[in-house]
Symmetry: C2
Subunit: 326 residues, 2 copies
């Protein structure tokens, strides 16, 4: 059995899977909003221990634990640098060693979005397609690319679809730049905008729903509930996010021309199929090859995809399903 | 010896090259602005015949002639469909057979932008780099992608960087869509805008320079001359084009993260190194990986690159230089 941990801006998801990639135990804990990398690492170890307990195995008996992390990953050194959306994670932290010490097994690190894309390509919605783009619509908007069965990450920093410009001199993104797709579609930016509008007097139930659920942030569930209730501000901001995703993802498709686009991430999974269709509709006016649009599907592994993909990092070759390739 | 023809919206460039890819003869004729595909094909044959004469060879004695064409290419069938920027070329035309009949040698068709990118990757500015993006700034804005030494065209329609959205609900592009990079940076769109502004009373020397040169369009040479003279409208529209290229090319780089960007095309070649630097400067605010920007260079094969790349389509394997690959 193997472990996988998906380190997100809002939550840490851990799984323990068997040789057939079936989830035997899972656990989820909130990502600490204060403290620093050591606190985050402690919560990650805690989540994995809970998942191992559910699977009735000791962490030390796992073949290894894979981690999908934001930020710059050095898989060889086992370090993570400048992980945005995580508390005080500006410098370089030896996450691999820290977790390995806590869990008594080997730890492999990978990029969160890329491992989730690999999981969808190998085991999920992307299985029929040689080439695909994973769109992870959550706190930010991440992208993972698989071309003819192989991940494409460029010099290591590819796939940053959230920072495709959809409006020159447009809204300020949480990354500091202007007009990025994420500035309109990232849940982080959407929350900042909702707070600003609410403060300036726009009526909305978003923050009441948040408090009723004991949350301090506008989670995907809060957005979904507000949409269900017909909250005007939620509808407006989500509509704007869908339009931005349409323009940005169509731009990427005009460049890559892949067979399929798999929509994942907290909001992507939570809002599901109807919104995948809406994103495709919003892409159409911008698709150059609009006679032959890509298939757009919701990530089939749901919100466990990132953790299942992380576990692939420690899979032996005989456990790794044959990659689709031409 | 082999022939190559680059079919552009403004001009048809033909070359005859030897086994070392050295140009032994070349000729250029204007692209017909009226008539239809047969007239264009006749001008192409004429250009190639002139190039062959300069190289002291009969077209029929060439190993073959490669053609880089806009539109949808079916290399097997030898057909070109819906070639935008060419007169009345909406349907499918058997360009391969037509040229083969006129020139008495075999003809191979390829995408204009991709063959020019391949030429730069194999023989030009891209030689040191395993992965690169070719940006062809001319009548439109075309893109060619080479990833680890191999062309990437997706399902056949990839590389359409001109139709990356840089402004949601922005300017109308000649493709009919809104906010495309090409709507700001394509010479076709720039000319439409200049004509509109001139008609509404904005002072500019652009059209006087055009007439003085016996042109009916704002060619790259006309734009360059107007910039040299400090023409305010030319400066404004070129500045806007550079900003649009900065945002659009940076967006593509955020996705692909390649080592190098090679700037070609009529305007790219004509405006040269200073403008390649300006495009990089305009990319910087939008580059996610701004610690490590790509190298940005002007196409080394100049405006013969497309024709030299087209000739590669009929090169035997022993004439094809070893492709860079990791």
């Amino acid at each position: 059995m193997r472990g996988g941990i998906d380190l997100g801006g809002t939550k840490i998801q851990a799984v323990v899977v068997d040789d057939e990639h079936t989830v035997r135990g899972e656990a989820r804990v909130p990502t600490p909003t204060t403290g620093g990398p050591p606190d985050v690492a402690a919560s990650m170890a805690d989540a994995l221990q809970q998942a191992a307990q559910a699977a009735d195995v000791e962490p030390g008996d796992l073949e290894g634990v894979g981690v999908g992390s934001p930020g710059e990953i050095d898989p060889g050194a086992g370090t993570v640098t400048s992980a945005r959306n995580l508390p005080d994670w500006e410098g370089t932290f030896a996450l691999g060693d820290e977790l390995s010490g806590a869990l008594h097994t080997r730890v492999a690190l990978g990029n969160d979005v890329q491992v989730a894309t690999d999981a969808e390509a190998l085991l999920g919605a992307g299985r029929p397609f040689p080439s695909l783009l994973g769109v992870f619509w959550g706190t930010g908007v991440g992208g993972g690319i698989v071309l003819e069965g192989k991940p494409w990450t460029g010099r290591g920093a590819g796939g940053e679809i959230g920072h495709v410009v959809v409006k020159r001199n447009g809204a300020r993104c949480t990354c500091g730049r202007k007009g990025c797709m994420e500035a309109y579609a990232g849940r982080g930016s959407m929350e900042l905008r909702a707070r600003g509008r609410h403060k300036r007097g726009t009526k909305t139930d978003l923050f009441q729903i948040m408090r009723d659920r004991g949350r301090t942030r506008l989670t995907s569930g809060v957005w979904a509930r507000a949409l269900d209730r017909g909250d005007d501000l939620a509808i407006e901001l989500i509509d704007d996010a869908v339009e931005a995703l349409g323009a940005g993802v169509a731009s990427v498709q005009n460049v890559l021309d892949v067979e399929a686009i798999v929509i994942g991430g907290g909001l992507g999974i939570r809002l599901g199929e109807p919104y995948a269709r809406r994103i495709l509709d919003a892409m159409m006016p911008h698709l150059f090859n609009d006679d032959d649009p890509p298939v757009v599907e919701v990530a089939a592994l749901g919100d466990l995809g990132g953790a299942i993909g992380a576990a692939l990092l420690v899979a032996n070759s005989h456990q790794r399903p044959v990659s689709v390739s031409l």
